[in-house]
């Protein structure tokens, strides 16, 4: 076994890169060679930023989103309405909500969704932390903005059940035909649900 011992650090790097989504053994090898051969500066920067991020980024005590501070900027902002709390599955969902400019309240990020067949229940997605967030707060309304997948709906139901005792208004974001959507081109599942969840016309 002539070379196997010498290349072990390289092997380790390739193996480590495979933890990234959609990176297989071949792309991991390509990345490793690229970093070592063509971009050692970039590699060094990546390694320091990565370790800094891991050491300093944690969950906001209030909204559970990622932050370097104890309480994130959004939660400490004085220009937001702290009587409304919107519950989302992921940080990406929070960003989408912010892009709408239609919401000025607070957030709670679950960092997941309930999926019993994968062994993920209310404990695993931090619903106890959500209860703590709602307890002794000024919140008057909860908006549940989990996905309209089966798991998202199951999560929404669980949130509804555990927050019932607090006697605050609980609402669910609406779903249906998209803005600018023409019925002819809407998928049948969405259209069927839009018929079931129709509402009184208001003009």
């Amino acid at each position: 076994m002539p070379d196997s011992k010498k290349s072990s650090l390289l092997d380790e790097l390739v193996e480590a890169l495979r933890c990234l989504p959609s990176v297989g053994p071949r792309s991991a090898q390509r990345m490793a060679f690229h970093l070592l051969q063509h971009d050692r500066h970039g590699a060094l920067k990546l390694s320091t930023v990565l370790s800094d991020a891991l050491n300093n980024i944690h969950h906001c005590q209030q909204c559970n989103n990622f932050t370097e501070a104890l309480i994130c900027d959004l939660c400490s902002s004085t220009s937001r309405d702290d009587s409304v709390l919107c519950v989302v599955e992921s940080p990406a969902d929070l960003l989408m909500m912010e892009h709408t400019l239609a919401y000025k309240g607070m957030y709670f990020v679950l960092m997941g969704k309930i999926s019993p067949l994968d062994g993920i229940g209310p404990q695993e997605i931090g619903l106890p932390r959500l209860i703590k967030r709602v307890e002794n707060s000024a919140i008057k309304e909860i908006i549940i903005a989990t996905n309209f997948t089966v798991e998202g709906e199951a999560t929404s139901h669980a949130i509804h059940e555990i927050l019932k005792p607090f006697n605050i208004k609980i609402s669910r974001i609406a779903r249906g035909v998209p803005v600018g959507g023409e019925l002819e081109y809407v998928d049948s599942g969405t259209l069927a649900q839009a018929i079931i969840e129709r509402r009184e016309a208001q003009f």
Partner: protein, 241 residues
């Protein structure tokens, strides 16, 4: 020997569960009418613009086409059938429970048309918010019967005499349901009426409903072995059922 690739077209199916695979695909466990439970790889189905991205959800009947002879076959197409409103509230958790039961108990590539029909109407009942307990017990019994795990419900497993409604019975792992004796007082007892109601799929009596829940639990646990259902554990964390 070279065999041609098997192609199955427009088979009625339900998604039982899916797990992500690579960045844009998923492996979908489906329950089909004529081919039983099979795993399919749905390539690119997690891409933002995939036409089947929102379609591969549990509790919705689909018409699917796939190809391949290997264990993992490739999904070629999926179409929405409709007719079943999406499950809501605690009914979703009941649905998860049934799907886990099927995944754990139904062997792959083992067709069970009768069970499939029953599953179809069960999901329908759950979507119309029918009373949950009778619906669940009835499907559990069908699973046990179809897979050959149900004891005889009309006759005593020891004496082979017909079950008598006002007599008490116990479940014996070897003999099945046998008449209760003085020495079986600390065992779970089932009235003859419950067993006969079960054999007629009649859950109108509340005692029948309570006792059959116990009996189904015993019979299912026997098939499931030591590994408990994930859905049962999650349900214990929520006051749902």
């Amino acid at each position: 020997m070279k065999s041609s690739i098997l192609k199955i077209n427009e088979e009625v199916a339900f998604v039982l569960h899916s797990i992500p695979w690579r960045e844009t695909s998923q492996i979908v466990e489906v329950f089909t009418k004529n081919y039983g439970r099979i795993p399919l790889i749905a390539k690119g189905s997690k891409r933002p613009r995939s036409p089947i991205r929102g379609l591969l959800q549990p509790f919705q009947p689909l018409r699917i086409s796939w190809s391949g002879n290997n264990e993992l076959r490739t999904l070629r197409n999926a179409e929405w059938i409709g007719g079943i409103p999406q499950l809501s509230g605690s009914y979703i958790y009941s649905g998860f429970y049934l799907n886990e039961l099927l995944i754990r108990l139904l062997p792959r590539d083992d067709p069970h048309q009768l069970l499939f029909e029953k599953y179809y109407t069960t999901i329908q009942s759950l979507s119309y918010k029918d009373k949950i307990e009778p619906v669940l017990r009835s499907l559990e019994l069908t699973i046990l019967k179809e897979l050959g795990y149900s004891p005889l419900l009309t006759h005593d497993g020891e004496s082979d005499t017909p079950i008598i409604p006002d007599k008490k019975y116990i479940f014996d792992f070897e003999k099945g349901l046998i008449q209760s004796r003085t020495d079986s007082e600390n065992r779970v007892q089932f009235s003859g009426k419950t067993l006969l109601d079960l054999s007629n799929n009649d859950f109108t009596d509340t005692t029948t409903l309570t006792e059959s829940k116990l009996l189904m639990r015993i019979l299912l646990n026997q098939c499931l072995g030591d590994k408990d259902l994930q859905t049962r554990r999650v349900l214990q964390e929520l006051p749902l059922l």
